[in-house]
Amino acid sequence: MKTILFDASRCNGCYNCQIACKDEHCKQPWLPYTEAQALTGEFWCKLTQRDRGRVPMVWVEYKPLICGHCDNCKLLEAAPECVYRREDGLILIDPAKAKGRRDLVDLCSNVYWNEELELPQKCTGCAHLIDDGWKEPRCVDACSTDALTLVDEDDPRLAGSVDACGNAESGSHMRYINQTTNWIAGMVVDPAAAEAVIGAKVTFTSADGTVACELATDDFGEFHTKNLPEGAYTVTVEADGFAPLTVQADSTEADVMMGELHVVAA
């Protein structure tokens, strides 16, 4: 079936996807596909944001969470009487049959409870629009930067993609590419001269002694790992004329902004 592909390197965090979903569904029923979404509080397309790093190395990571109409959908398994899969693969909760089924909310984080209507609700893949001739759902249509695209099952970009939880193998048709691992970054400075140290060699060594990565500081004395596997590293800084410096960094849980690493003349 068609898959929504999210390219993390193209998302600017504008929330168009989340807002377009609300524009389509809030207070607007599209029966028999779905009842109306509540004006606020439900996020059939939910953009999340996470600040990463510390001053002055800070970036924000955005990530949309949308129903993947999974091959192994738990809702379908648990409640076949009110959840159904269409021929095109989209999975819908039947609003005429699902009243009161709060239990579905506990089965999947993409399902929301509409308090007023006493209904479990979620993304329909904009099935009503697709049946009316649309080529893609609102979230994809509203994306201005091509971060969200609707692709065929055999699209080459899907190779290497993961689901929302980071699993390569799963039945979700909401896929993610170009997400980055926690990074380690810093600046090498000679405080005595008040100068950035350019071209210093920065080596990342794993606990087992393997050199995982070697970088050179840039024109501003900065270094920044790209897709280094998350873990604990010994970071060694070597620059001509300076005593080597060794520090520890652990990116297992979060990005590591090491700040200024001060080197001293040898």
């Binding site: 504008c14 190395m57 000679d190 100068e195």
Partner: protein
Amino acid sequence: MKTADKTVMQNMSLCSFGNGANGTCIDVKDGRIVRMRPIHFGQWYTKEDLNYWTIKARGHEFEPGMETYCPPFSIAYKTRTYSPNRIPYPLKRVDWDPDGERNPQNRGKSKYVRISWDEATTIIANEIKRIDDTYGRNSIMAQADGHGETGSLHGPHGCMANLLDMTGGLTMQARQPDSWEGWYWGAKHAWGQEPLGQNVHQTNLLKDISEHSDAILYWGCDAETTPWGWSGQQASRMMFWFTEIGVKYIAVSPDCNYANAVHADMWIPVLPNTDAALQLAIAYVWMTEGTYEKDYVATHTDGFDWFQYYVLGDEDGVPKTPEWAEEKCHVPAWRIKALARYWATHNVSIAHCNGGGYIRSCFSHEPARLEIYLLAMQGVGKPGRNQLKYIEWALMGMQSFSPMPSAEILPDVRACYHAAMLGDLPKSFIPKTLIAKALKGEKIEWYGHVTSRHPREDQFQHFQFPLEGDAGIKMVWSDSPCWSTCWNDGNEFQDAIRSENLEFFLVQHPWFENDTMFADIILPVSTKLELNDFGVDTYNGQFNIMIDEKAAVDHVGESLSDYEAVLEVAKKLEAFGGRYKKCVRHFTGGKSEEEWLEKGYRGSGIGGTEWEDYDTFKKQGIQILPTKEDWEDDPAGMINFAEDPDAFPLDSATGKIEFYSVPLAEHFPDDHVRGPVAHWIEEADGHQERISSDRAKDYPFLLVSNHPRWRVHANFDDCPWTREIETCKIVGPDGYAYEPVWINPVDAEKLGIKNHDIVGLYNERGTVMGAAYVTERIMPGALYQDHGSHTDPIVMGQGGLDRGGANNLICPDKTSSKNAAGEVTNGFLVGLKKMDLDELAKQYPEAFAPRPNYNPYTGISVMDQIIEED
């Protein structure tokens, strides 16, 4: 199933002034707007039809795209049309009696009663006549500018000014060059670049930078935020493109703003409004290391030795070293040197898109001029070295404002434009920055007409208000009631608007927001989705588009368009005869709506060209114009000046880039704040807004009050789908949605403030509330709160307390500097404290009493201010 009955198209620009952008499809079903979405060009045009362009550089390609790139405001706009805060019918303040007590002191407090359009327009016409007869026409001021919806025939902002002008005159509020204050008051004196002082030679800069630049300095700007209301999201696509081809993004700003957060390769945090120190230190490095373009400086500039004399410390004994700058701007000296050296050895351009504090703080003319000096020292105009704008790509009908490939035609709406023309001022006018003082009855003086349409020399003319023999302002007629939430020292305005001097405050507006709550009469105005109009979308950075804007739905409530509302007043005035004779015909030009729309199309610049085709335009509802055939041949940026400054002089006094401005020296010999050569100014002209100031002991933080992420100034603060985003509003324990205040974790810990604590930003001008948002996205020593949140005063006026978080209320009241009447609305000193909601509720029981119609996701509601009839 049928998912729409009909589709219409409109330009959803929130720039106003006739500047169209953000082309959007509006789907309607059962008489209601059901969705708003991008326009896809392919249903009418092939790429060949549009002479589709491609930029090829470094093995990659960038294309304009075949759909509009709507910002979230366009997608969510129906929430504004259907806002619960829409003014449902004409309203009169209950204790304002035009024939008796007017109770000006109760403006902002007392409630409203429903009246009919007939009653309202009768009162308005009688008041205009009475004030005219008693005080003269210059006592009626039109407040008729500002950002908001863009209309043409129904043009918001200024229809009433036209009616007043054709029936005897008025005083106008003169719109400041508020997006460009520093450029206007400073940079124009360094390099001309009329009319704004920003580089107006943008043509083909996308191509030039793609081919030649190593890096772009994004100096104090947020190209992921400010362009949204103006031009959509092509700016975002451009930034992704530059990253794709390896053009380094270097951010210089106090905040990791929304563009930096996604696109930046590196961020240089600088304390708000201390860029001048950083710039001077960069110049110092270049001068002492000999790494600037000496030949270029010799041939393309004037007065460099004056600047060098100052930078090296010969003038004041203080060399402007990186260490000197570090203390002021908090950028480490080692980083300043690295930046200076990188810049001197690479092709670097500087990007702007207005907004931010860089150019709207006190003395903003100085960093603006200093930037021009630095650009000049690195040979501005040479390939890859320019000043680039990410916004306003067709401003003032100037194609040269766009860095994208030029189009065959740049259409505009002038022929059917019924709003006031910016810069077209009557003899009696008041700079917007000085309105509060004028309302209070003070005599005010200043230099220049202060609008963005006036040339550099205009800044040497002296003006005053009131004119000799005039009585001052007795009536204000506003169609842009957000002065207090967008300008300087809004608390002073809240005092002024309640002054005895002001006998009548009339507001026409769609929503009960901001200064509307101070009005004596309120007329309900339609949003543009309820109106037929002629529109263009020429800021999109793709193709120029003309739109036959059709009303999506009927007028909501009893609303009329701005034009229709003023027409109703004209009809009443006509009965007085005399100067009002035939004023309806004068106002309408005797034309029907359809006639105006056709006039708009034919007079847009397309008339008489091979593309003029009104029938197809009406049939399709849209016409998209092709790119110019030979667009690649247009000289890029300032290359002509760089290659031959004598043949292609700038419009400065000497035709060169002036480090020393002779006109400033001649006209203001005693001005040492905006002197002939740009300087670092510590404090002067009533501004003590530095961390070195005595005031900083009480107010230790510098506030960044940027163009808002989730609003366009004060527009859009009632949208439920933006308000539920954490960076837009944070709902407090009292169920009230507060405006976030960003604070660095280091500062939060010092103050004992936790994430989502309710806090107050304060200085001697008052306190505005907010909710703490503890984040690494703001540097220590600075705080950040978007500007433009709706005012919700607990205590009005100077020293007041605002629950809404409208931080313009506590901005400085003084202008940029003594002789520069620009606004100062960013980068000023504040303190921050935790607020105890229980204590506040005890102290202000009335303000904290439950409001039945308040909803944290839509905010305040007009229904809580209307006294319902039995």
